[in-house]
């Protein structure tokens, strides 16, 4: 990084689209700040939850070959894994939804397209979170017997 210090006299110039835009500098809310912070906080938690989940499921427990209904029933008999999976579901879904929201904002050009894509995204997210939560809470491990 010595190369970086060899020309501190030249200030960086951010070109046209990234220079000060013609819109009000301040918005009324800090939503984007909270969204940015949420991505970092949830991301760190998800590193533990998701990598733990992948390691246990794919390597320690022998992968999808071992998985059947009884396996899931045994797992969700424990409140620990219920809470783990519930937390993972909510955090991952909101983290992913916000990520895709940013991508939609970046690449859509027309208001209609942006609005439609976001409506589809939020609908799919709401249904998926509700369905997953319902399944974790109302699952009956005795169903199979």
């Amino acid at each position: 990084m010595t190369a970086a210090r060899s020309y501190p006299t030249i200030p960086p110039v951010i070109e046209s689209p990234r220079s000060a835009p013609n819109r009000p500098r301040r918005t009324r809310t800090n939503t984007e700040l909270y969204a940015w912070l949420f991505m970092r906080v949830s991301g760190i938690v998800l590193v533990v939850l998701v990598l733990g989940h992948l390691f246990i499921m794919n390597i320690l427990d022998g992968g999808v070959q071992r998985i059947n209904w009884g396996f899931v029933a045994g797992r969700w008999a424990s409140p620990f894994w219920q809470v783990w999976d519930l937390l993972m579901l909510w955090l991952a879904m909101i983290h992913g939804t916000n990520g895709l929201r940013v991508i939609i904002n970046d690449y859509t050009r027309r208001d209609g397209t942006r609005l439609t894509l976001k409506a589809v995204l939020y609908t799919a997210t709401t249904i998926t979170i509700a369905l997953g939560t319902l399944v974790i809470f109302t699952f009956n491990p005795d169903m199979g017997s």
Binding site: E15, L46, V47, G99
Partner: protein
């Protein structure tokens, strides 16, 4: 901003036109490509997540319907896709930690390039044994004694 490591070092000298590019952190090279990879792996993982919640929701329908769907995953082709998914998630996780370091660590932007190569190294070190153990069963199924 002036402490930011330039990603386009050739523009350091030369015409003013080329100098203009010098300060933009994410133009080209490691900074930009890790950003691109972060987006792609994130979107892939998110789309998989929808499918994964839906298939797991079948445990609430009946043991038979869940087992029938899970059985369609038990082949070497899906196994390869699983390894790809794990690779995507692992990159996204490691690069996410790098982004947190860039945002919150005072020297983060200065070392963003070195941090990228560090996480690539960790990724390879985890994926080589990881892929081996994940594909073990499929390998035995394809070429060995297990049916």
């Amino acid at each position: 901003m002036s402490t930011v490591a330039p990603s386009t070092s050739p523009s350091r000298r030369g015409s003013p036109q080329r100098t203009r590019i010098a300060g933009s952190l994410y133009r080209g090279r490691e900074g930009m490509w890790s950003w691109v990879a972060h987006r792609i792996t994130g979107v892939l993982t998110f789309f998989f997540l929808f499918a994964h919640v839906l298939d797991t929701a079948l445990v609430r329908v009946s043991p038979e319907s869940y087992d029938r769907v899970i059985d369609t995953y038990k082949n070497p082709f899906v196994n390869l896709m699983e390894i790809g998914l794990v690779g995507a998630v692992l990159f996204h996780a490691l690069n996410g930690l790098r982004i947190v370091a860039i945002d919150f660590w005072a020297r983060g932007t200065r070392y963003q390039r070195q941090m990228l190569w560090a996480i690539v190294l960790v990724w390879v070190a985890v994926m080589v044994p990881g892929a081996f153990f994940m594909f073990k069963h499929s390998f035995e199924q394809l070429f060995g004694s297990v049916s």
